[in-house]
């Protein structure tokens, strides 16, 4: 029965700063927004698309998707009301597209609408989305917590430049979800109350939801697992023995969900040397003096014990991997060769390639020493990884110098800073990344030659390894034409292997789950790495 | 009166201090009595244990690291006799300030800088007399009147630093007398005061003693004051009592050699009558006999010439902090000091003597006028030139303790001026320091001591040695000897005169001790309210004083003879005029009448009388 279970307390140690996912791309804000705002369809924990506000998932079979793959027709569920009691219509959907696609708005989810030519309301309950070019996988706009539907009546004065000034709207959006915002304090606390207009009269079971921000991962986990003050803690990524110690208190469990997040090492194929003039460092103009040797890259990968890394850093929340795209199943390569560490083979490989052991046990060739600068962001697990990898590499005769950068700088993308991951003024670097939705194609497409960061694109672009293989670029171009899912998967596996196993330009380490601590007193939680973690908050209930 | 029971009986007092080199005895086996209405004077040279004995009576030595090791301090209270040495702290608090009060030696530091005079005065009254704030304030006002502080209303609201040294001393006196104690301990109460005010204070204590039957323990090094005040006298020497007796007996037929020597060494006003040149002081000890030569300069040509010197301190106020008034500390002063001669400046506290000295050295910036030293215009010099010029003129400051850096060894302090001017190498400087130590008759072993480890007189000699280190042509000695006891004073003065004779140094000698001035000067200037009212050779000024203020000053000088006491009625007390004038105020220039060659007397403006 709605509202019978009292209050549920959720702690997000990274506090949400807005409820409007179109104005912030931060996961924390998207999660907060998903409690109130809903998309037409969601992803399940398995990565499948299921209807939310839509009556069904459009497909070629049911006529929802046109034969030429250029238009999608969404049928909306009838009888859905906004929390203010007004009916939810196709107009709202069309407005949402207009809102995000407004060129002055700076919409954070613009990528979701990429390739969308127009969105029209055909009738009260029908929406037609037209794409510029054929789309084999059209489930981006209005699918998943990143692009939920906004109420036209509430946001119609907030288009374009006015978007950020609509504080009241951005903090208290009217939604169709299980809860409504009662009080919003940016970066601090959000209190929600059950939505009286929610379509399922029995839900949500909780009358109120409190979302508290602040602190750190350990404190959040502690509040759920040890003191029991909270029911759910988001993103409790801690070392396995700490989690185990907290779970011993018997108040809750730390659960993991696997999406597409992979912790990996990027190898810089260009020369980052500081002796080069500024603007030419780490650009295609100057190949890397040692890392262009494939044997070296391969040896670096072989020397790593991914099993151990996973065990130490993530425990059950991680799996060793050799892939850049670990999921969905159709795209995941069978590539497991790297999972066994083989120091001796790595040494042999280097010997063979002419790298001989020199002074101090460091290999050298033609006066070049195997000395690498290894950078990553400040993060306890990553620093442990650095230490371990440094040791393994030293065993095969590679000397490693470590460097850490503040995450806000490292990921900050500031073209003026030498320490961003895109500038990559180091030889190897480690970070994690994933893709949204269940279509890895755009993700793989970001490793093409022209996506290499450099001065000409203000150091944006995600091909940080500066991997450049015409064959790869050609395959990517081909892929957009392919519709058959099985064929697409096979193509994806091929591309993935090119980047990893074949070239070792990217050395995947761990397939990471996102972990959250859940109290034993909280039922109905289904962790989801493809969509917002609170995607099914309407089903949550108290376990007596 | 004499057959009354003694108020205080000190029996076999011994005070010891724990020091790093083991215990040191400050006072040994001291016994004396004081009866109600009696004034007991304690005299003796510096470090002889006078202050320590006084502090013991209040049990304040304990807070300074000392300890009453032996003896009884019996004090007659209403409840009966108590031994102060053993009284519980609560009883002591009740006695302190109430039944026994003390005037401390150093007026500069004895007052708390952050409370107003009124507050500090009222405190004791509130504690002991149970007065309300308003009552205590009214009483404090009376007290300030009693110690003859001008404008007492305003003073109550002022802070200690806003008063001149003399006023501060009077506040301390008022504080001690606040509760009408039955025993008043005065530790050198008048050292900082000029003769006229000293006379007033002495008269006040004397009156209270007579009127209220208060007993007084009076500590001083000034035999003239003793002669004026004492009923009985205790003479101390190195922690022991050497002689005790009624004042007449001590002065006329001293038994002990030490007492005789002490008395003989006292300079007396008038004893230089008829002599032109200054002569060395009498010394107390054999082996220190100064050559009895008068100081006659070889070439009395002008070295320092000061013309129309004015120094004003701004008094700021208002929103924009404009200067609303000015303290006319020095007003149109002209004087000349010849090479090898001494010019003395005398005058009451706050009349601008120190400021004149400091202006000449440009330690304060004069407002206008000319100063030339050996033909060089001092006021026109830039910072670098001034530093060079200061090599030739040195100052000995009023308070030797304050003017020495407490953190520095004596050796380093004397070496400093030589370092500053890059004189000699290390070895040469060491030699010179050793010579200077010999010169001022300090053992060379003192070189590594710190200022607080010396007695007052020794510190003064260090200050002199420092001034001499550069072989200056002019020394400005600001109250260089007023804090010293007779014997040390004589040594120091003789030293200065000897140096003058040998090296031809000129001196500007600032003092309020008229008897000393008579002894050392070639010329004398009398200052009043920032102006020189009379100037001339010593003989002219001392033997034929013309200006009324000069005459008043001479009349106030106490005489070291108990039979020639002055009573309050002899002295005509009048309030001190204020040197503060509004900004626009342009004082008339000083015009002088030359009564005799070189003897000038101020005629316009009429500042006094």
């Amino acid at each position: 029965e709605r509202g019978s279970d009292g209050q549920v307390n959720v702690i997000m140690w990274q506090a949400p700063s807005t409820m409007n996912p179109y104005l912030s791309a931060g996961t924390k804000d998207i999660i907060a927004g998903s409690v109130v705002l809903e998309p037409l369809a969601s992803f399940t924990p398995e990565g499948e698309v299921v209807p939310r506000l839509a009556a069904e998932i459009p497909s070629v079979e049911n006529g929802g998707i046109s034969e030429d793959l250029k238009t999608v027709i969404w049928k909306l569920q009838p009888g859905i009301k906004w929390s203010d009691g007004t009916p939810f219509t196709a107009d709202d959907v069309a407005f949402t597209a207009e809102y995000c696609m407004n060129p002055q708005g700076g919409c954070a989810q613009l990528a979701k609408f990429e390739g969308v030519e127009k969105v029209e309301a055909v009738d009260e309950l029908t929406v037609r989305v037209t794409f510029v070019s054929p789309r084999p996988d059209p489930f981006s706009a209005f699918v998943g917590a990143q692009s939920p539907i906004l109420q036209k009546a509430q946001f119609q004065n907030c288009l374009g430049e006015a978007a950020p000034t609509c504080t009241e709207q951005n903090f208290n959006p009217i939604g169709t979800g299980a809860f409504v915002v009662r009080e919003f304090r940016t970066n601090d606390v959000i209190s929600f109350a059950a939505n009286p207009e929610y379509r399922d009269p029995a839900k949500p079971a909780f009358a109120t939801l409190l979302m508290k921000g602040g602190g750190d991962a350990a404190a959040a986990a502690r509040a759920v697992l040890e003191t029991g003050e909270f029911d759910y803690a988001w993103n409790t990524q801690l070392s396995p023995d700490v989690i185990a110690g907290m779970e011993a208190a018997g108040k809750g469990k730390n659960a993991a969900a696997f999406g597409s997040l992979v912790e990996r090492i990027h190898v810089n194929l260009t020369d980052p040397s500081s002796s080069l003039p500024e603007g030419e460092r780490s650009t295609i103009k100057h190949p890397h003096p040692i890392l262009t040797d494939p044997a070296v890259r391969k040896a670096l990968s072989m020397a790593i014990d991914r099993q151990l890394l996973t065990e130490i850093g993530y425990g059950p929340a991680g799996q060793p991997t050799c892939n850049l795209v670990p999921a969905p199943a159709a795209w995941a390569s069978e590539n497991t060769e790297c999972l066994t560490q083989d120091i001796e083979a790595a040494k042999a490989l280097l010997d063979e390639a002419g790298w001989t052991v020199g002074a101090g046990g460091i290999r050298e060739k033609d006066g070049k020493r195997l000395t690498l600068l290894f950078q990553t962001s400040v993060n306890a697990v990553r620093q442990d990884f650095q230490a371990l990898i440094k040791q393994w590499w030293s065993e095969i005769g590679v000397e490693t110098e470590l460097k850490v950068v503040d995450p806000s700088v490292f990921f900050g993308g500031d073209a003026g800073s030498p320490d961003t991951f895109q500038k990559f003024y180091a030889d190897v670097e480690m970070y994690a990344n994933n893709f949204e939705g269940s279509n890895p194609e755009p993700y793989l497409a970001r490793q093409t030659c022209d996506k290499a960061p450099g001065p000409e694109n203000q150091w944006q672009g995600e091909n940080t390894s500066r991997y450049c293989d015409p064959e790869y670029d050609r395959l990517i171009g081909e892929m957009t034409q392919i519709v058959d899912p099985a064929e697409r998967g096979a193509m994806g596996r091929r591309l993935n292997e090119m980047l990893t196993r074949d070239s070792n330009a990217i050395i995947p380490l761990v397939y990471r789950g996102t972990t959250s601590a859940v109290s034993n007193a909280l039922g109905g939680v289904k962790l989801n790495a493809w969509d917002s973690e609170l995607w099914n908050v309407a089903d949550w209930h108290r376990v007596k | 009166m004499l057959d009354e029971k003694p108020l205080v009986r000190v029996e076999g007092l011994r005070v010891a201090f724990q020091t790093h080199d083991g215990p040191v005895t400050g006072v040994q086996d001291l016994s004396f009595d004081i009866r109600p209405g009696e004034c007991l004077c304690v005299v003796g040279e510096s470090g002889s244990g006078k202050s320590v004995s006084a502090l013991s009576l209040l049990r304040l030595v304990e807070f300074g690291g000392g300890e009453i090791a032996q003896g009884r301090l019996l004090f007659q209270r209403a409840q009966g006799e108590v031994d102060l040495a053993k009284a519980p702290p609560a009883a002591m608090r009740d006695i302190r300030g109430n039944e026994i009060a003390m005037i401390f030696q150093e007026p500069m530091t004895a007052l708390n800088p952050v409370f107003t005079v009124g507050e500090q005065l009222a405190e004791g009254l509130i504690v002991h007399r149970g007065l309300s704030r308003a009552q205590a304030r009214a009483r404090a006002l009376d007290l300030l009147g009693e110690v003859r502080i001008p404008e007492p209303e305003r003073r109550l609201r002022q802070y200690p630093h806003e008063l001149s040294g003399g006023m501060r001393q009077r506040v301390v006196i008022a504080m001690a007398m606040a509760c009408r104690p039955r025993l008043l301990i005065c530790d050198e109460p008048t050292t900082a005061l000029d003769v006229t005010i000293q006379a007033e204070i002495l008269a006040l204590i004397d009156r209270l003693k007579r009127e209220t039957g208060m007993a007084v323990l009076f500590i001083t090094h000034d035999m003239a004051v003793v002669a004026q005040m004492a009923d009985r006298v205790v003479v101390m020497f190195r922690g022991n009592k050497v002689e005790e007796g009624p004042v007449g007996q001590i002065f006329q037929s001293p038994r002990e050699n030490y007492t005789k020597a002490l008395l003989a060494a006292v300079p007396r006003l008038g004893e230089m009558a008829g002599r032109d040149a200054p002569e060395p002081m009498r010394l107390m000890r054999e082996g220190q006999v100064a050559r009895p030569e008068p100081v006659v300069p070889r070439a009395p040509e002008p070295l320092l010439e000061v013309r129309n010197l004015c120094t004003r301190f701004p008094v700021k106020g208002g929103i924009l902090r404009r200067t609303v008034a000015q303290v006319h500390a020095v007003e149109d002063v002209s004087l000349t000091v010849n090479a090898g001669e001494t010019l003395s400046l005398v005058g009451e506290s706050g009349c601008g003597k120190s400021t004149t000295g400091r202006s000449i050295l440009r330690l304060v910036e004069p407002t206008s006028g000319q100063v030339s030293l050996g033909g060089r215009d001092i006021l026109a010099l830039d910072a670098r030139g001034l530093r060079k010029a200061r090599r030739d003129m040195q100052m000995i400051f009023q308070d030797p303790f304050a003017s020495l850096d407490p953190q520095m060894r004596l050796l380093d302090q004397i070496e400093e001026p030589m370092l500053n001017y890059g004189i000699g190498n290390r070895a040469e400087r060491r030699d010179r320091i050793a010579q200077l130590f010999d010169r001022v008759e300090l053992p060379r072993g003192f070189m590594r001591r710190y200022p607080h480890e010396l007695s007052g007189g020794q510190r003064q000699r260090i200050a002199i040695a420092r001034a001499l280190a550069l072989n200056p042509r002019l020394i400005i000695a600001d109250e260089a000897v007023s804090a010293l006891d007779v014997s040390v004073q004589a040594q120091v003065l003789n030293l200065l005169m000897e140096l003058q004779r040998e090296l031809g140094i000129s001196m500007l000698f600032i003092s309020h001790d008229i008897a000393v001035v008579e002894r050392v000067s070639h010329h004398v200037g009398v200052m009043y309210l920032g102006r020189i009212v009379e100037i001339g050779t010593r003989r002219q000024v001392f033997e034929y004083p013309q200006h009324p203020y000069t005459r008043q000053l001479m009349a106030a000088v106490p005489v070291a003879d108990p039979r020639r006491r002055k009573t309050g009625e002899d002295l005509r007390f009048r309030p001190i005029a204020s040197p503060i004038h509004p900004v626009g105020h342009a004082p008339a220039p000083s015009t002088y009448h030359e009564v005799a060659p070189g003897h000038l007397v101020l005629t316009e403006p009429a500042t006094h009388g």
Binding site: A15, S17, S24, A25, G26, Q104, G106, A108, A111, A163, P164, T167, N170, R185, T186, N187, D188, V189, S191, K212, G213, G214, G215, D216, A219, R222, A223, F230, S408, V409, G412, G413, D414, D419, N433, E436, Y443, G461, E462 | L58, L60, F63, G97, N98, F104, E106, T109, N112, P113, V114, E123, G124, V127, H161, V172, M175, G318, I319, L320, R321
Partner: protein, 335 residues
């Protein structure tokens, strides 16, 4: 004194303007981008659009001038409107945070109460325990009290709050369950019970911070007391028959407070600035946490405004310290 204060206030205006310029340039020059928090999945073109939407396309001096106008003109007008119901600020752009897209001042107003109660109270408590400890430690130098006080305060100072805070949580929050480990900023005190709840949730952060503050202040207090206890006027006060309590607490204390006032006054702006680590540990989302988040998110308008407000506080508190100096020590002249 009043005129001195006025003069200093006048002087403070150019000083603050200069400080604001320096802060702006510093923020401008320091690395980081407001879009740093945006996940890597967002493509660069989209980021570029978002950046422009934040107004980052303009030259720095234009943005600085805009900020100045907003801070000194629009915001005061807005608050004037709020109070008097007028409409002067209609249509004017207030300072908007990059992160939350809400007016910076609203967020600050929301944060101020918890910062002031927790950090302010801890400072008060800290000062109140530091002064007696410093006084007694000096009066009884090298006594047991002094030794223990020194020991505790030095250990308290040398252990960072991220450590002591967690120890407190583990001991009192988890083991003993006395206090909640998470501060509830929405809690309203309406009656006695809710007041007790408030007290309980404030206990740990206040204790941790107070300990840290007290450690520092008590050291300065002790040193200053030691210097003054040796002065002559203390003897004079004793000779008046005042009790030791009055001698120490009135005469010596007043003099010793002079340098300590600087320490205390310098610490006060930090109260408004919040205690970043402690707020983080106990989830008291106050101004400190706001600032640190804003810095990490490169939220220029927020950082700039907060920092500038601190600058204003610092300048005013140094002025207050200087004035207090004058009150405590009449010898100090203002010219």
């Amino acid at each position: 004194m009043l005129s001195f204060a006025l003069r200093r206030l006048l002087l403070a205006v150019p000083t603050l303007l200069f400080i604001s310029l320096v802060i702006f340039l510093l923020l401008e020059a320091s690395p980081g981008d407001p879009l740093g928090d945006v996940p890597l999945t967002v493509p660069p073109e989209v980021k570029e659009r978002m950046r422009e939407a934040l107004g980052l396309g303009q030259a720095w001096y234009v943005r600085y001038a805009l900020w100045l106008k907003q801070f000194f003109w629009v915001e005061p007008l807005y608050w004037f409107d709020r109070v008097f119901g007028t409409g002067f600020s209609q249509g004017m752009q207030r300072i908007i945070s990059f992160q939350s897209r809400s007016p910076v001042f609203d967020v600050i107003a929301e944060r101020l109460p918890q910062t002031l109660t927790v950090v302010g109270l801890s400072y008060l408590v800290g000062v109140m325990i530091a002064l007696p400890i410093g006084i007694v430690s000096a009066y009884r130098q090298y006594s047991w009290f002094d030794q223990i006080g020194t020991f505790v305060s030095m250990v308290g100072f040398s252990l960072p709050t991220f450590f002591t805070g967690v120890v407190f949580i583990i001991v009192f929050g988890i083991k003993l369950q006395w206090f909640p480990s998470i501060y509830d900023t929405t809690h309203r005190v309406t009656d006695w019970d809710s007041f007790l709840v408030q007290l309980r949730q404030m206990a740990m952060p206040v204790a941790v911070l107070a300990l840290y503050n007290a450690a520092q202040i008590s050291r300065f207090m002790r040193a200053s007391m030691l210097d003054n206890l040796r002065q002559d006027y203390v003897r004079t006060a004793r000779a008046k028959g005042l009790s030791e309590r009055v001698v120490v607490l009135k005469h010596v204390l007043r003099n010793s407070l002079i340098p300590v006032v600087t320490v205390i006054a310098l610490g006060l702006p930090a109260v408004f600035g919040g205690a970043i680590i402690t707020e983080q540990v106990f989830k008291v989302n106050g101004l400190g946490q706001l600032l640190i988040l804003a810095i990490h998110a490169n939220d220029m308008p927020m950082v700039m405004t907060l920092t500038f407000i601190f600058a204003v506080l610092i300048v005013s508190f140094t002025l207050i310290a200087d004035l207090l100096y004058g009150v405590l020590d009449p010898r100090i002249r203002y010219d």
